[in-house]
Symmetry: C2
Subunit: 142 residues, 2 copies
């Protein structure tokens, strides 16, 4: 029995995957993996997600260079959530050019306040005229 | 416009919610919230999830006492993932009696290795003859 068989993929064949920075402990992003993406993540020792918007495998950093080198892969108690502890190359995980995708914080007044600055503009990361393939990677709400 | 309108709930009306320990930075668990659970979490300043298995609101700690006091609520770039930075009462988030639900780590040999010990037995937490309502809370793969 493979370790992959112990993972409970949902009806879409996906499992939630959260990336945490190995050095800072910060939560960088939350995306999705199918069985192949998870197998490749372990094999290549870098984060490979499933892009729901593009319907294909998404090697994190494939267009940005912001690869997530795998430090540790963890599974939760009911097997339907994966935690990746990673080294975030470039120090930027978010397509907006920020360290973390979780750059908004709820204030007491009930507003989402942006607490993180842009470290590098998306244009500089992806090229102003590029397809920004990686940029759309985590913006897949479908 | 409410801050809740900026959250992208999925077709089931849910958003992924990940809890991180405020003190240790450890990822404690990943569960789900509907709009009401998220609103209550902000209002009551403690984690309220939606239990998919039981089909009802689940105030974390309602039967275990392991309440998660809210320190910070964050939203990701595409609005479909919530991060809760919490104070974990009792130091136990998992229904197995461990600090974190992510207590298994993938070894180089391709096995899920349990790295965390049980801090308190589930029987001691929930009572041997209880309904263990909270216990089943994060075991909802449905």
């Amino acid at each position: 029995m493979s370790w992959l068989d112990e993972v409970n993929f949902n009806r879409d064949g996906l499992v939630a995957a959260t990336a945490q920075d190995h050095h800072t402990g910060r939560i960088l992003m939350q995306a999705w993996m199918n069985r192949e993406a998870l197998a490749l993540t372990a094999k290549e020792q870098q984060a490979v997600y499933w892009s729901r918007s593009r319907g294909k495998l998404w090697r994190k950093g494939e267009s940005s260079g912001h690869v997530q080198k795998l430090h540790e892969l963890r599974l939760d108690c009911d097997g339907d959530s994966i935690l990746l502890v990673v080294e975030q190359l470039g120090g930027i995980a978010c397509h907006t050019g920020r360290e973390s995708c979780f750059y908004r914080k709820l204030t007491e007044e009930g507003q989402w306040l942006t607490t993180d600055g842009v470290l590098k503009s998306p244009d500089a990361i992806y090229g102003a005229f590029s397809e920004q393939a990686d940029k759309s990677g985590n913006s897949d709400n479908g």
